[in-house]
Amino acid sequence: MLNIEPNLANPDAFYEALIDMHRELTTEQSHLVNAKLVLLLANHIGDVSVLHDAMRRARDSEAQP
């Protein structure tokens, strides 16, 4: 079950770190870094039903107008 309730102790600090991760990278490099991040987190989560749920939510919100 994918947790969609608040789970980050400090959301602002997380967001800052996420943006910082991309500092001084070209867009191409940033895409690669994002892809690696997805893979690292997916392996950490492990539970494929949680991952499918997250994939579906990510994709559905993109498809909305």
Binding site: H31, L32, A35, K36, V38, L39, L40, N43
Partner: protein, 537 residues
């Protein structure tokens, strides 16, 4: 002489059928004398069925083609009597290395579980396998091999199929109760009956080069993503017998196959890989594309399809020839039982159910490998490269790297031929529908392999006490049963069961079709009948 096998040719011989005023009727005619057709022919012959094999050519295949023969295939070949020759001639390897650009990402060791007779796989040029199968087929008086016999027409009747066969002496007709089309990816038989194989064609081309050299490269499988000597593409290097190395270069869709095959274009690619100082000779070059596809049904009336005619996969994972040989293994005993009158015609439908399922499994695996090796979109390539870059320092990512998942036999989990029995209460062992697993046993104090004791027909294996296996080869009736007693090794008990009373029933293709905790004669008889398609419930 093994060395001459690639050049071996076979003479056309006029058959009595060509002089017969009425078309002869044969129980089984196989079209295509490749690895699949010959495997089936030998298996049927050993089961007492006379079989005619028609081939439009008169020589073995050229070039290495299928080179990787998996453990299950070798076990099937053992029953046909050529397993040992293949293993002795073949190259066994365990270590694989994966490179990204100039860097070694990681290496893996596929060292198989100990105490199996056969290795996980061997590399061996297809022409050797065909040559060994040919020798075995010619030793069977039940096999009638007819070279330069090209099928030019197929007519289906209720009781038989009529084939028009073109030969150097002209066209004649023969009839068969069953025809098995093992005539390859472009199957003319498939075309004659108006069927097609459908699926996904991959827009990519690969160059294969067989290179002879004595350079001290290790006996390992090397796979490069984006190597400096062949940028933006993949390359695979494999060792074969006779100092022949197989190199597969990905070329991309825009490459011109005729141009790429020319030695002046191939040599620089090979030199870039091997280094300028390595002496080598080019033995064979080919450019191929591939598709993952299959026929919707492997049976059309009395015509059956096996191997590449029925299904095609990408070469990544060695699933082409290996799955075709498993098709033949699945079909052989069923066709023999039907022709002998021991089973109803409907048993053959289970061949389709089981092998169509297996084809889907193979297609799924080889499609996944293909999508990793040759990504089809920007984002697919992005994730592929992300996986590769993580793989060097992150063990989890190595498991995602997919340079081909090597062929494993299918488990027919939902087969109509299986009897549930006590299967669900086994907490280990060989599952219902799975092929038997090898292990050492002793017979009369002498070491032997478990697989060599089972599978000529239905076989019941019962652990009657901690040190004794009772192995019963089931005959046409009980008086013909043959019994062997064997002492199981620790590996056998670990792989099957330690519990006294455990009883396994194996089909003639060595797949498990029932298992119980206790021996019961009636349950066994019912399970055999069900596996023969007599009382499917």
């Amino acid at each position: 002489m093994d060395v001459n096998h690639p050049a071996q040719t076979f003479d056309y011989v006029r058959s009595a059928d060509q002089d017969s005023p009425v078309a002869a009727l044969h129980p089984v005619v196989i079209v295509g004398a490749g690895p699949v057709g010959l495997t089936l022919a030998i298996d049927l012959a050993k089961k007492g069925i006379p079989v005619v094999v028609l081939d439009d050519d008169h020589r073995l295949s050229t070039g290495s083609r299928a080179i990787c023969f998996a453990k299950r295939t070798l076990e099937i070949f053992d029953r046909l009597g050529i397993g040992e020759r293949c293993v002795n001639k073949g190259v066994s390897w365990n270590v694989g290395k994966v490179f990204l650009r100039e860097q070694l990402l990681y290496e893996f060791n596929l060292l198989p579980e100990r105490n199996h007779q056969r290795p996980a796989f061997i590399n061996l040029q297809q022409y050797y396998v065909e040559a060994f199968l040919n020798d075995a087929a010619r030793a069977e008086s039940n096999v009638d091999l007819r070279w330069k016999n090209k099928v030019v027409g197929v007519t289906q009747g209720d009781e038989s199929v009529t084939l028009s066969v073109d030969t150097p002496d002209g066209i004649h007709s023969i009839n068969a109760r069953y025809v098995v089309a093992c005539d390859g990816a472009r199957s003319p038989i498939r075309g004659f009956i108006g069927q097609e194989s459908k699926g996904q064609v991959f827009r990519d081309r690969f160059l294969i080069a067989d290179v002879k050299m004595t350079a001290p490269f290790p006996t390992e499988r090397w796979f490069w993503f984006d190597p400096p000597f062949h940028p933006n593409q993949s390359v695979l290097l494999h060792k074969q017998p006779d100092d022949v190395w197989r190199i597969d270069f990905q070329l991309g869709w825009d490459a011109d196959p005729e141009l790429e095959k020319r030695p002046e274009n191939v040599l620089p690619r090979v030199r870039a890989l091997l280094g300028a100082d390595t002496a080598f000779e080019l033995e064979w070059v080919s450019v191929y594309t591939f598709a993952c596809m299959r026929m919707e049904k492997f049976r059309h009336g009395r015509v059956l399809f096996a191997g590449d005619s029925a299904h095609g996969v990408s070469p990544f994972g060695a699933r082409g020839a290996n799955s075709g040989i498993q098709d033949a293994d699945n079909l052989g005993w069923k066709l023999a039982a039907v022709v002998n009158g021991a089973a109803p015609d409907a048993l053959i439908d289970s061949y389709c159910a089981e092998r169509e399922f297996a084809a889907d499994e193979n297609i799924m695996n080889s499609t996944r490998s293909t999508d990793f090796i040759t990504p089809k979109s920007e984002v697919s390539k992005l994730f592929r490269n992300a996986v590769l870059e993580l793989a060097r320092d992150h063990p989890f990512a190595r498991r995602i790297v997919n340079s081909g998942r090597l062929s494993m036999p299918s488990t027919y989990a939902d087969s109509p031929l299986s009897t549930p029995g006590d299967d669900t209460s086994f907490n280990k062992g060989v599952a219902l529908g799975a092929p038997a697993v090898d292990a050492p046993v002793q017979v009369d104090g002498r070491h032997c392999w478990f697989l060599s004791l089972i599978g000529k027909t239905f076989t019941v294996v019962q652990l009657i006490d901690a040190n004794t296996l009772k192995i019963t080869i089931v005959g046409a009736d009980q008086r013909e049963n043959q019994t062997v007693f064997a002492e199981p090794s620790g590996d056998w008990k670990h792989r099957y069961s330690e519990r006294v009373g455990t009883t396994y029933l194996f089909r003639p293709d060595q797949h498990v079709c029932a298992r119980w905790h206790t021996y019961d004669e009636q349950s066994i008889q019912r399970a055999v009948n069900r596996a023969l398609g007599k009382n499917a419930q």
